[in-house]
Symmetry: C2
Amino acid sequence: METEKLLDEKLSRRNLLISGGKAAAGAAILSVAGLKAAKTADAYEFASAYKYAKLDTKEVGQITYENYFNRWCTSSVVAGLVESLKKKAGGAWKDFPIDAYRWGHGGLAGWGALCGTMPGAGVVIGLVTKDTDTAEAMVNDLAFYYAYTELPDFTPAKVLGADIKHMTVAGTPVCHISVGKWMRAEGVAFLAKERAERCARLSADVAMEAARMLNVWSEGSYKPKHKPLYNVLANGITSQNNCRDCHGEYTPSPSKTYDTLNK
Amino acid sequence: METEKLLDEKLSRRNLLISGGKAAAGAAILSVAGLKAAKTADAYEFASAYKYAKLDTKEVGQITYENYFNRWCTSSVVAGLVESLKKKAGGAWKDFPIDAYRWGHGGLAGWGALCGTMPGAGVVIGLVTKDTDTAEAMVNDLAFYYAYTELPDFTPAKVLGADIKHMTVAGTPVCHISVGKWMRAEGVAFLAKERAERCARLSADVAMEAARMLNVWSEGSYKPKHKPLYNVLANGITSQNNCRDCHGEYTPSPSKTYDTLNK
């Protein structure tokens, strides 16, 4: 219920900000009812045995890396986690359709939206944790890791693509911006072997970070590093903190936009 | 193998473009090897019985719409399809963890990246089609539908959020841009009931479009409307066709960027 509490705490202040001081009008217009209603089922149950067992993160990384050259980002992260879980936990993982998530690659079938590594990890996180708040917090922490860590950091046992020189900070979970920044730093085109190598190593990094979090969670000691939905409240819209990557100097203010439109 | 053929057809021309006429250098630097290697397993098998039965698209839409107010975008689209499949096809759908994908909402836990409706549909499409090329083509067609259709188009049996006036064309599968354009047209803030209503109807639209495609596919007559990976080849990077939404007048050319960096 962490998410809901945060929303409750923040919303009164936010109402004031977004409605430009007109608290009464703001309260009428902005409703957390939909968000609250969304919390009917924090925990969810299903029969299939997707049990978790502590994983060797380095092995998860290596499997993910090797799979990338056959399966691209989403299903490679799934493979790194699931192939390890097949061995360590067995059960339903043995029949897991690893390739059923291939369409997530390249920010959704190459559309460059969300980097496919995070939804790949999310599929496994959602099946393992069986709790919407925990899965939300973990995926949110993973997005922070992806956006604000110099990547790729993984070193493969044997280079399968090409040697690469650069690490970059994406500042976003968006594929197009993330890979574009790295391509600019490295000086290579998208279809270059070097770019494939970068995404393979990056996939390994994300799978390893997910395994690290799940390992801690399996010991009962996972605590979210970041507050879920913070950006939604801070910016008044689903968003990131890289506004100027797209908006340049003219980043709209949600309160200004709202007030202007409603005068 | 449609994707691979397309890449083969386009790549020789693209090599020339990206390498600025230096075909030999281009061929050395740009390699389709990674992409070709990625096609080892077009069809994939697993034991769980995720069978498909033709669905009533209007019912799928209505279930999705109603679920939105409890489950947000991703798991609502999953719910619309899966609740219908539970009744019509049964089998493994009866134990399907609908809430395990909630983290996809708001463009990944509120980060505003990929609208969560499409990965929600993708989860079901991937399990049903059991073929990477078909799933890729279907998700790609769904992204085109999402990006270039005036939405939301769905009319609920009973309005659960609020009456809304506007339909907008997102031009992108990105949540932040899509919802931002609609908020601007409607003149409401993100936490307004109207915005929740819009996303609930939009979720219904995407679930219905997925059901329409799967219905046609189940009759053996699904043909992709759009070429997969076209944007990757056209723009030289995972991307969309809304460059100016973020880049303004200064949209970089992949060939120019590449040539400049390698001089």
